[in-house]
Point group: C2
Chain length 333, copies 2
């Protein structure tokens, strides 16, 4: 009998197959089927973006944030990358019997602070409690609504010649959670990059630049994101490995554990595909923002077909970048 | 140290205090604060209703439905009672490692069928997996968007003279889950009333009747709903106990267990407060709908102040109807 595996929640290949086989097959409709980070709706001529995300991160408090901050920032970011100004959030709490009220207060305070900073209001909510024998932690679902300010951003819009940028170092959130979970004390502290990206994205979209796609590399990391873009657009993407910004501490942690920082989640970074001629302008725009100081151009769309991502090393070796698969770290976000 | 108790999830007094102390205090804003079943938003002049609900019902399959059908109907109903035509849903799944794929398929199929019947589309989703040691079941969150067709429906709009109606028998869902959970084999089978109410509500709102409030009596049952109405509107509501439709099997189960059917959840019923002069028209409208055949006028708003609900028996005794409190049946919806 087939059962749910941890790998079904990793955000990589297995997650995609599960979605295709069960969710997309069962619930198919033209708005759902593109499987972008948010659905684009039309309410009489008014364009609205709508998205949902459940957060199960463990530990719930970690360097750089907690599950409440993450639940607001994550949904704000899913709206932002679809070209929508985040406006309203819902918050659904599932609490285990025995969960500390003092922890809940801290989590809600972090949500309030992050929402205020991002210019969104939590306007509707729900609270359920599970018997402790069934579940003892906290799950937060946030759904979000945004006003679409830029249409046409899509994973399927990459074209040969596009430059690929990232807004900062990759893998910080994943490495932070891993070290917090395993109790590993790395020489350098690792903080999550958890942050709301709307003002950064707004700056990018305020230019005349021909931006084709935006996305935040979460569960499956930058490798998962680039692979999805390559497949959705049927293009070959070439990435210069040494241009990808990775913190020393994150690189060290990955080497120690035999893991790839490109498979690690970010929670405050965005990848951008933009027409080559506009790459410099977007890079400057990113670097002028506090959350984009370490932005970099990391590669380009080399050609149509085959759909794949090639990673070029500084010694000029080339290898195909694979999305993560198998059992990644569970409860990462 | 204060901790979350099962009673915090019952939908009654303790839930309300938790919401007041932590959620409303932390996240306060004019749209959230009324705490109606859905938030009413304005997207440039377009009125939209937005709501969220997490479903943790146990068992996940029960007579009359399953958690998937419930997750669609529950959110459809929260939009409907705020006078909004349900349009779009999100679906966030949290799955325990080891959950059966065949069960997930059945659940998604039920969601698809219920969504189709209710005229809504699931347009965005999310899937997370928990290690089996943390959680082994399924949680579904649905958030919903609707187009507001009738403004001004509110728990705070009841006026002396209003008639109070219910669209059918009360307590069926709660009694069904209880008997399924406890393995109690009552003489008469009890089915959940789980159903999407939009077409029923649409009929009510298509009249010229002066409807003041609509709400579906879920977790805290009809007693919880009426108490909330009395307090939000500062009115005394008088209910004729014998006019409340209760199935024989539900009444029998309650007597056996020493419980009150007015404290039991419904998932396919609506209570309506309407100007007295229009009560007959609304009753006829309800009874003409397949989901409203057993509708009844059960009482009226007797006076301003004090805020309370009085239950009158057939022997003309009068008692104050209390909302449920303490540990109700957990995981009811």
């Amino acid at each position: 009998m087939e059962k749910i595996l941890l790998s079904h929640g990793g955000g990589g290949e297995e997650t995609r197959r599960l979605i295709d086989r069960i969710f997309r097959k069962g619930l198919s409709n033209p708005v759902l089927d593109p499987l972008e980070d948010a659905a684009l709706l039309s309410f009489d001529h008014k364009k609205i973006a709508f998205t949902t995300d459940s957060f199960i991160v463990d530990p719930i408090f970690f360097p750089g944030g907690n599950i409440g901050k993450l639940a607001v920032a994550g949904t704000v970011n899913d709206l932002s990358v679809m070209g929508a100004r985040p406006r309203y959030l819902s918050a659904g709490f599932v609490l285990g019997e025995g969960f500390r009220l003092s922890d809940l207060k801290k989590i809600v305070a972090a949500m309030a602070e992050e929402a205020k900073g991002a210019g969104v209001a939590v306007v509707t909510g729900d609270t359920k409690v599970m018997p402790g024998v069934d579940f003892s932690g906290i799950v937060i679902n946030t759904a979000g609504l945004g006003a679409v300010v830029r249409e046409g951003l899509s994973a399927s819009r990459l074209r040969p010649g596009d430059a690929i940028l990232v807004s900062g170092t990759v893998g910080d959130h994943g490495a932070c959670i891993l070290s917090a979970r395993k109790g590993i004390d790395f020489q350098l502290p690792i903080e999550s990059d958890c942050a709301s990206l709307w003002t950064l994205v707004e700056g990018v979209l305020s230019t005349e630049a021909e931006v084709h796609a935006l996305r935040d590399p979460t569960r499956a990391g930058l490798a998962g994101l680039l692979t999805e873009w390559a497949e959705a657009s049927s293009v070959t993407i070439e990435i210069d490995e040494e241009k990808i910004p990775v913190r020393e501490a994150v690189r060290g942690a990955c080497e120690l554990l035999g893991m790839d920082p490109l498979h690690f989640a970010c929670e405050g970074r965005v990848a951008i595909a933009v027409a080559e001629v506009d790459a410099e302008e977007i890079l400057m725009k990113l670097m002028a923002h506090p959350l984009g100081r370490e932005a970099a151009v990391i590669g380009r769309v080399a050609s149509n077909d085959p759909a794949r991502v090639i990673l070029k090393s500084s010694w000029n070796t080339r290898r195909i970048l694979e999305p993560p698969s198998g059992e990644l770290l569970p409860r990462i976000c």
